[in-house]
Symmetry: C2
């Protein structure tokens, strides 16, 4: 994988929301908005409902495409990063570390009783970007 430059890492780490696309059994595409955390290296973590469409799709096919983007009607300001990832459920120390990041970044999880559900690591295997300046 091409190394991810620092300014792209910052863009990924600061994103309040990403959109995760999956291709489940039978080739059914799906996409949801999710609040991600980033370890600063090559792994995002998200918490999913264990029986959600996305969780079921990832059990059938662990590939995920993660879009982080900003839309602007001034098209010279469009920015996006697409991360091609492999999803794996995490537990133990790795899940704890992900949840420390989640609690720090999204204090609003407190208001919805933030118990971990299905915490998934999304390991970046390949990435592309457009418009994210240094």
């Amino acid at each position: 994988m091409n190394p991810i430059p620092d300014h792209i890492r910052r863009y990924i780490g600061e994103a309040r929301v990403c959109r995760i696309a999956t291709a489940g059994a039978g080739g059914a595409p799906h996409v949801i908005p999710v609040c991600p955390v980033f370890d600063g290296d090559r792994t995002l973590a998200v918490d999913l409902g264990p029986e959600s469409v996305t969780a079921r799709a990832l059990r059938a096919n662990p590939r995920a495409a993660v879009l982080i983007d900003d839309y602007d009607d001034d098209w010279s300001k469009l920015r996006k990063v697409v991360l091609h990832c492999i999803a794996t459920p995490i537990a133990g120390a790795e899940q704890d570390a992900a949840w420390e990041r989640i609690r720090a970044k999204y204090p609003q999880y407190g208001s919805v009783n933030w118990a971990p559900r299905l915490t998934m690591a999304l390991r970046i295997e390949r990435w592309v970007q457009e418009g994210v300046g240094a």
Copy 2:
């Protein structure tokens, strides 16, 4: 298909951007941000690069999941609609009608001098929503 209520139609029609997920040959998920137009009934139209990942994926598998959503750090304001669609290239009068809508909604197309490339209709077969009030 469940009829789409008027307030959901408005939400779809007013969206400046949507995210289109595809599952190409070999079950590779992909997702891109695109500027859509809506005919107010059950068809979105978008213009794609004919050799883009999304166009190639749709040739292999015409199913698309289209996400229209608004993120807000106040999670009581989260809104989303997911449209499960079948994509087909359009030409002639249907393409002309789509481009009338594109030019009216996105005058910035003029500044990048985009002639129609691969114009695709995305026909809604099924939809779900969360948080889009009447």
